[in-house]
């Protein structure tokens, strides 16, 4: 199967492990990811906040590039890019005036009929649990995991049309198919505040602190994420949280694609598992998985 792949800015530089593990896992599952030629930034939250038209136009520019690829499906690992491109396409379809304006701004015609999917949803539903299970050579037994979906992948439901905005389960199902033990908790979609990480660090430390305190209470081995913003934020702020709570706080934050790769028998280093601040390697070694 061949699909278009829109990595987004973070996966090029700060979230390489997400990109490389996604690429390898898709290859193992017989999926060919064809990167969108000449893609650009979707404008992320700054454009969405400061300039609605600019935000929609940047997404539309990417949709046009994808439409040029002659595949009908695009798979997007970054939840923000996923939600933004999906919502831009819907906005343009619903409003002819907006469509005309946007087409003028990007100076291109847009069809607006793409099947836009996030990477997790694509693997869970299009590829399916059965195919995932078949590839497992090293079951992740003995790993106690919590799934953390964050916001943009599922919220608001009326925009993402994906899983459940309050209590999603798709990542849980994938990890269970890999043989891991998935714990239950109430923080699957609690916001970690990543967008304010630089400008309002205190707010973000408080938000991540609530999440990590609960993760520790649940005695999880690791938190599994599908978003590079959540990954960086939760990985980076634990030192401060530990100090504030007067306790050791060092729970690895791992991409679900890294765990898929590991279960498929790929080496931990090749999946970038040695590239996180809180190193998951010793945990994985203790479980005989690395």
């Amino acid at each position: 199967m061949k699909v278009s792949y829109y990595p987004g800015c973070s996966l090029e530089v700060t979230a390489k492990p997400y990109d490389t593990s996604a690429q390898q896992v898709c290859r193992s599952l017989g999926v060919e990811l064809e990167e969108v030629p000449q893609w650009c930034c979707c404008g992320s939250s700054p454009a969405l906040k400061m300039d609605g038209l600019l935000s929609t136009a940047l997404s539309a520019q990417n949709l046009v590039h994808i439409e040029g690829q002659s595949v009908d499906k695009v798979v997007i690992p970054c939840p923000f890019c996923f939600r933004r491109l999906l919502s831009a396409q819907e906005e343009i379809q619903a409003d002819q005036d907006l469509k005309t304006t946007v087409q003028n701004v990007i100076q291109a015609e847009i069809a607006g009929q793409l099947d836009i999917q996030n990477l997790l949803g694509f693997l869970r539903y299009d590829i399916g649990l059965e195919s995932i299970r078949e590839k497992v050579v090293q079951p992740l037994s003995g790993l106690r995991l919590l799934t953390y979906y964050g916001c943009y992948l599922v919220k608001p439901s009326g925009v993402t049309h994906y899983d459940d905005g309050e209590y999603p389960v798709s990542m849980d199902e994938v990890l269970q198919a890999l043989g891991a033990e998935v714990l239950d908790w109430d923080f699957k979609t609690e916001c970690c505040g990543a967008g304010l990480s630089l400008s309002k660090t205190d707010t973000v430390v408080e938000l991540t602190r609530r999440i990590m305190r609960e993760a520790k209470f649940k005695e999880a081995d690791a938190l599994v994420v599908a978003c590079q913003l959540c990954q960086a934020n939760l990985d980076m702020r634990q030192e401060e949280i530990g100090k504030a709570e007067d306790t050791d706080m060092a729970i690895p934050i791992i991409y679900f694609t890294q765990l898929m790769g590991l279960a498929f028998g790929l080496p931990a280093k090749q999946l970038g598992l040695n590239h996180h601040l809180i190193d998951p390697i010793s945990l994985l070694k203790s479980k005989g998985l690395a």
């Binding site: 000449q38 700054p46 520019q61 608001p156």
Partner: protein, 194 residues
Amino acid sequence: MHRLKGHPEERRFLEEVIEKSGQNLLECLQCGKCTGSCPISSQTVGGPRQLIARILHNMQDAALEDPTWWYCVSCGTCANRCPVEINMYQVATALCEMAEEAAVAPCEPAIHRFEELFLKSVRKYGRVQELKTVMQFNMRSFQPFKDAKKGLQLMLKGAISPVHFIKGGAKDPRVADIFTRVEQLKQGEKAHES
């Protein structure tokens, strides 16, 4: 519902926000589910319910200087839980644009600074140069070594490359053109109005 009794002139601001955001704030029940769920509501940041109350009461200055929409991280939790599906991050965009038009100084300069630097980078390179933007933000906020230790650790692990702190990627003039055309369009509208 005294908000509906106002003279049309008194409802001008409210109507503009509704039109720009596409969110029918007149349906708001003031139930507070949004603020109760909003991650950024705090003692100093009033949250979406209060912001909507200000808009409904035509308190333009208070609404355009409300920190809530600057803080809003577009998490979508409010829209998910709101009984009438009001999406606050769309309202945030509308208010941000209206505040800029009305030349209201950003009441949250740090958030504004970051968002501007981010978009500057996108305008120049087509893709945001994250690490360079972080550096620029920290320099301009007079805290050059903020999180520097973590950056260094990640570099030592080989997770990020020092090059990306200084060097940008290739330039992408097509994206700069999009920025320019959006600007021109807005200036045209302004000229048309006045």
